[in-house]
C-alpha cells in the first residue's frame, strides 16, 4: 500500500468523523411538543410572542433571567425562561427562535434569535411614514 493511500484513508475517516460530529452537535428546528417528548435534547423552537400574557424581568434580582410566553408554529403555548437579559427591541419582534430544552412544562432557553420587522429590511414602512406627514 502506498503512503498516499494511507493518507487518503485517514482523510476520509476524519471527514466522516466531522460529518457525524456536526450531525450529533446540530440542533433541530421543532415545536414545543417535540421538545417535550425528548427533554434531554436541545431544540430550536420558532414562534411568536404572546403579547397578552405578562413578561417577567427583574434585573435587580437576576439580570440574566427573563420570562415570557411563546406560541410556537403549531399554536402551542409555553412559558419560556431565557437565561439572558431581556433583549433590546424584544417587544417589536415579529418572530422569535429560542434555543434550549423543555423542562416541567416550560422551556429553558439558553439563547434567543429575533427577527424584527423594520430593523434592516423594510424601507417601505419608513417611506410610508415619511410621505404621509402632511
Amino acid at each position: 500500500m502506498k503512503k498516499t493511500h494511507i493518507v487518503a484513508i485517514i482523510i476520509i475517516a476524519i471527514a466522516i468523523g466531522a460529518i457525524i460530529s456536526t450531525l450529533a452537535d446540530s440542533s433541530t428546528y421543532a415545536t414545543f411538543s417535540v421538545a417535550a417528548e425528548n427533554p434531554t435534547h436541545t431544540y430550536h423552537v420558532v414562534g411568536k410572542l404572546n403579547k397578552e400574557k405578562p413578561q417577567d424581568y427583574n434585573p435587580a434580582v437576576n439580570a440574566d433571567l427573563f420570562s415570557f410566553y411563546l406560541i410556537d408554529n403549531s399554536g402551542e403555548e409555553h412559558q419560556v425562561h431565557l437565561q439572558k437579559a431581556k433583549p433590546q427591541d424584544f417587544d417589536k419582534s415579529e418572530q422569535i427562535v429560542v434555543v434550549g430544552k423543555m423542562k416541567d412544562g416550560s422551556f429553558e432557553a439558553a439563547d434567543i434569535l429575533m427577527k424584527c420587522p423594520s430593523k434592516y429590511n423594510n424601507p417601505k414602512d419608513d417611506m410610508k411614514a415619511v410621505t404621509s406627514q402632511r
Binding site: 502506498k2 503512503k3 498516499t4 493518507v7 482523510i11 476524519i14 471527514a15 466531522a18 460529518i19 460530529s21 456536526t22 450531525l23 452537535d25 446540530s26 440542533s27 433541530t28 428546528y29 421543532a30 436541545t42 431544540y43 430550536h44 434585573p59 435587580a60 434580582v61 437576576n62 439580570a63 440574566d64 433571567l65 437565561q83 439572558k84 437579559a85 431581556k86 433583549p87 433590546q88 427591541d89 427562535v97 434555543v99 434550549g100 429553558e108 439558553a110 439563547d111 434569535l113 429575533m114 427577527k115 424584527c116 423594520s118 430593523k119 434592516y120 429590511n121 424601507p123 417601505k124 419608513d126 417611506m127 410610508k128 415619511v130 410621505t131 404621509s132 406627514q133
Partner: protein, 641 residues
C-alpha cells in the same frame, strides 16, 4: 402622465447609469479581445483588450466618484444614498456607505480587480492574455451584479443609481405621485451604527483586496490549462499567492480586532458563519502556497496545486454566495441584506466551478505524475501533511457553516449547533495543535531527505525551552483542560523553534527569514487566542445573598444603580457615577477602584462604555475595554431601561 418632480438632480445619476453599462460592456469586450489575443497570439487584439480594460477601469472609477458625490451632497432622491447615509453621520464614515450596501461592495471588489489587472498587464508578460482573459471574465460577472436591468421579467443585478421613486419596493406608494415628495424627505435612513467605527473604515477594503487577490493564482491556473503550459505558471503566480495570504489574513485579523473592540460578545472570534466564510479560503490558500513551494523546489504535487488553487477561488465565490444570498438568514451579524440575487450569485459560482472542473478533466492525463514517493524525512512530505491538516480543518468548518444550505437542498430541518463555539473548538483545537507542531519542525527538514540525528539535535533546545515554559505556566494557568496544555506547548514550541531557526540556522539573515517570521507570527496568534479565550473570566457575577438555585445560575450580567450601588467585582469595587449624552452617543461613567486596607489609598480607573442611539436599527452598545499588560477589563452596557 408625467409628473414634474421638484428638486431632483438627475444629471449625475444618468451619467452613473451610463458608466454602469459601459463598465459591463467594456469588461465583455476586454474578455473577448483577450480570448482572441490568446488564441491567435495577435497584438491588435491585445491592444483592443487593453483599451477595453482601460475604459472599464475609467468607468469603475467614475461610478465610485459619482456615488461619492451623491452621498456627500445628500441627494436622497437616489435610493442608495437614502438607504445608506444620512445627515447626522460623521463625514469620516462616508466611505463606509460603500460597503454597507451590496452594490457598493461589488464596486469595491471590481475596483481592486482593476488595480490588480493593471499590475498584471505591466508585469505578467507572456501570461497577460490568458490571465487577463480570466480576470475580465470575472469582471463581467461582477459588473452584471450592479446592472439593474430587467430582461425577460428577471432583474439582473441591483443598480446603485436607482431613484427612490423608481425602486420596486415603493411601487404604488402615494409619494410617487407627489411632485414635491423630496421636500418631505428630511433625511436618509443612515449608516448601520456598527459600521461607524474606525476599524470598519479599513477592514472591508483590506478584506476585499484579499478576496480580489485570490483571482490572480486562479487566473494563472486556468490560463495554464487553456494554453496547456501546465507548469510554468507556478513561478509567476507564487508571489501573488503570498500576497493574497498576507492581505486576506490581515483583513481577517482587522475584523477580529473590530469585534473585540466594538461587539458585545466579549471576544474576537465567535465562529460566526461570515467569519468562517473568509477564514476557510485563507486556510486553503495557505495550503496552496505550500504545494506551490513543493512544486517549485521538487516538481511534485501538480494536481494538488491545481485543486487547491481552484478550491480557494471557488470558496471565495461560495462565501460571497453565503453572505449575500440571504441564505444565512438571521444566523450572522455580518450578512448583507438579501437583494433577491441568490440565483444570479449561484450562476456566478457554478459557472467558474464547472469551467474549472471541465478544464481539469480534459487535461487530467497531462497532470498525472510518475515520480517515486517522498521520503518521510523530507521537507516536502511534511509540507504536504500540513496542507492536508489545513484542508481537513477547512472541510469541518465549511460543513457546519453550510447547514442552512443543506436545509435548502435536502429540505432537512437541522439547526446550527446550540453551542457553536464548543462545537468548532473541539475540532479546531486539535487542528491548531497539529498546525503548531508542523510550524515548529517544518523548516528543519531539508528537501529530499534529512538527517534525523541532526534534526533532533537542532530541535532539542527549542523542545526543552518550550517544555520549561509550559511547566512554569502551569502556576499561572492553573487547572486547565489537557488539550489546552498541548496547544500551549505546541504554539510556544513553534515560536521558539522559528526564532531559533532565524538566529542559529539563518544567522539572522533577514532576506531568507520570511517563513520563520510568518510561522512565528502564526504561533503567537494561536498562543494569544488560547490564553485570552481560556482565561476569560466574568467578574460581574451576582454576589447578592440571593440563592437562585442550581438551575438559575447568575451568569454574567448584573444591575447597578446610578450613584447608590457599589458592587464588588473581581478585585475591584465598581460604581456607576454619571450618564451623559453627546449627540447620538450616551456615555456611562463607571468607576473601578481598589482600596489598600492599610493606607486607605484608592487606586483604579474610570471606564466609559457607550450606547449609540439609533431608532431605526436599534441602539448599539459599544463596550469600553481597559487594557493592562496581563489582562483586559471589559465593560459593556446591556440595555437602556
Amino acid at each position: 402622465m408625467d409628473t414634474n418632480y421638484i428638486g431632483e438632480h438627475l444629471f449625475w445619476g444618468k451619467i452613473g447609469n451610463l458608466l454602469v453599462i459601459l463598465a459591463g460592456t467594456a469588461a465583455l469586450l476586454s474578455t473577448i479581445s483577450y480570448y482572441f489575443a490568446l488564441r491567435k497570439n495577435d497584438s491588435a487584439w491585445k491592444k483592443l483588450a487593453r483599451q477595453a480594460f482601460a475604459i472599464e477601469t475609467f468607468s469603475v472609477l467614475g461610478i465610485f466618484g459619482i456615488l461619492f458625490y451623491l452621498i456627500f451632497n445628500q441627494r436622497f432622491e437616489y435610493f442608495y444614498v437614502w438607504e445608506h447615509s444620512n445627515s447626522v453621520m460623521p463625514l469620516r464614515y462616508i466611505l463606509s456607505c460603500f460597503w454597507e450596501g451590496q452594490e457598493g461592495s461589488f464596486l469595491l471588489w471590481m475596483f481592486w480587480h482593476c488595480v490588480l489587472g493593471w499590475i498584471l498587464i505591466a508585469t505578467s508578460k507572456e501570461w497577460e492574455n490568458g490571465v487577463m482573459f480570466v480576470i475580465s471574465l470575472v469582471q463581467v460577472f461582477l459588473a452584471s451584479m450592479i446592472f439593474g436591468i430587467v430582461i425577460f421579467g428577471h432583474k439582473i443585478g441591483s443598480n446603485p443609481f436607482i431613484l427612490l421613486r423608481e425602486h420596486p419596493d415603493f411601487a404604488n406608494l402615494p409619494f410617487i405621485k407627489m411632485p414635491d415628495y423630496l421636500s418631505k424627505i428630511k433625511d436618509g435612513r443612515g449608516l448601520n451604527p456598527l459600521l461607524q467605527n474606525y476599524w470598519m473604515t479599513i477592514h472591508p477594503p483590506t478584506l476585499f483586496l484579499g478576496f480580489a487577490s485570490t483571482v490572480v493564482p486562479f487566473a494563472f491556473a486556468i490560463a495554464a490549462l487553456i494554453q496547456k503550459k501546465y507548469t510554468e505558471w507556478i513561478k509567476p503566480a507564487l508571489p501573488w499567492t503570498v500576497f493574497g495570504v498576507m492581505i486576506l489574513g490581515t483583513g481577517i485579523l482587522m475584523g477580529a480586532a473590530w469585534a473585540y473592540e466594538s461587539l458585545s460578545f466579549g471576544g474576537f472570534w465567535a465562529w460566526d458563519p461570515v467569519e468562517n466564510a473568509s477564514l476557510v479560503p485563507w486556510m486553503t490558500m495557505v495550503g496552496l502556497l505550500h504545494v506551490m513551494l513543493i512544486y517549485r523546489y521538487r516538481t511534485r504535487s501538480l494536481m494538488s496545486t491545481y485543486i487547491l488553487d481552484i478550491a480557494t477561488f471557488f470558496l471565495i465565490l461560495y462565501s460571497t454566495f453565503l453572505t449575500r444570498s440571504g441564505i444565512l438568514g438571521g444566523s450572522s451579524v455580518h450578512a448583507f441584506t438579501d437583494l433577491g440575487m441568490s440565483g444570479h450569485l449561484l450562476i456566478y459560482m457554478l459557472f467558474f466551478l464547472v469551467l474549472s472542473i471541465v478544464l481539469l478533466v480534459i487535461n487530467r492525463k497531462a497532470l498525472k505524475e510518475h515520480t517515486e514517493e517522498e521520503h518521510v524525512s523530507s521537507r516536502e512530505f511534511w509540507m504536504f501533511i500540513g496542507m492536508l491538516v489545513l484542508v481537513i480543518g477547512s472541510l469541518q468548518i465549511t460543513f457546519t457553516t453550510s447547514i442552512p444550505v443543506f436545509n435548502k437542498l435536502f429540505g432537512s430541518k437541522l439547526a446550527p449547533p446550540a453551542d457553536p463555539i464548543d462545537h468548532y473548538n473541539q475540532w479546531q483545537v486539535p487542528i491548531a495543535i497539529l498546525v503548531s507542531l508542523l510550524l515548529a519542525i517544518g523548516q528543519y527538514f531539508k528537501y529530499k531527505k534529512s538527517d534525523s540525528k541532526e534534526l533532533w539535535k537542532k530541535l532539542s533546545l527549542s523542545l526543552i525551552i518550550a517544555a520549561v515554559i509550559t511547566g512554569l505556566s502551569a502556576f499561572y494557568l492553573g487547572s486547565y483542560r489537557v488539550h489546552y496544555y498541548f496547544l500551549f506547548f505546541a504554539s510556544v514550541f513553534a515560536f521558539v523553534a522559528n526564532f531559533d531557526y532565524f538566529i542559529r540556522t539563518l544567522k539572522g539573515k533577514f532576506e531568507n527569514s520570511g517563513p520563520s517570521i510568518a510561522h512565528a507570527g502564526i504561533a503567537l496568534i494561536l498562543l494569544g487566542a488560547l490564553i485570552s479565550n481560556s482565561k476569560k473570566e466574568v467578574i460581574s457575577r451576582n454576589l447578592k445573598n440571593i440563592d437562585l438555585g442550581k438551575d438559575m445560575p447568575n451568569k454574567e450580567n448584573i444591575m447597578i444603580e446610578q450613584q447608590t450601588d457599589t458592587l464588588p467585582m473581581g478585585s475591584y469595587f465598581v460604581s456607576y457615577t454619571k450618564r451623559e449624552q453627546k449627540g447620538v452617543n450616551v456615555y456611562f461613567d463607571i468607576d473601578y477602584y481598589k482600596q489598600n486596607p492599610s493606607t486607605g489609598k484608592r487606586t483604579g480607573f474610570p471606564s466609559q462604555p457607550l450606547v449609540q442611539l439609533n431608532e431605526r436599527m436599534g441602539n448599539v452598545a459599544e463596550p469600553a475595554t481597559k487594557h493592562f499588560l496581563t489582562q483586559d477589563i471589559y465593560t459593556h452596557h446591556l440595555r437602556r431601561t
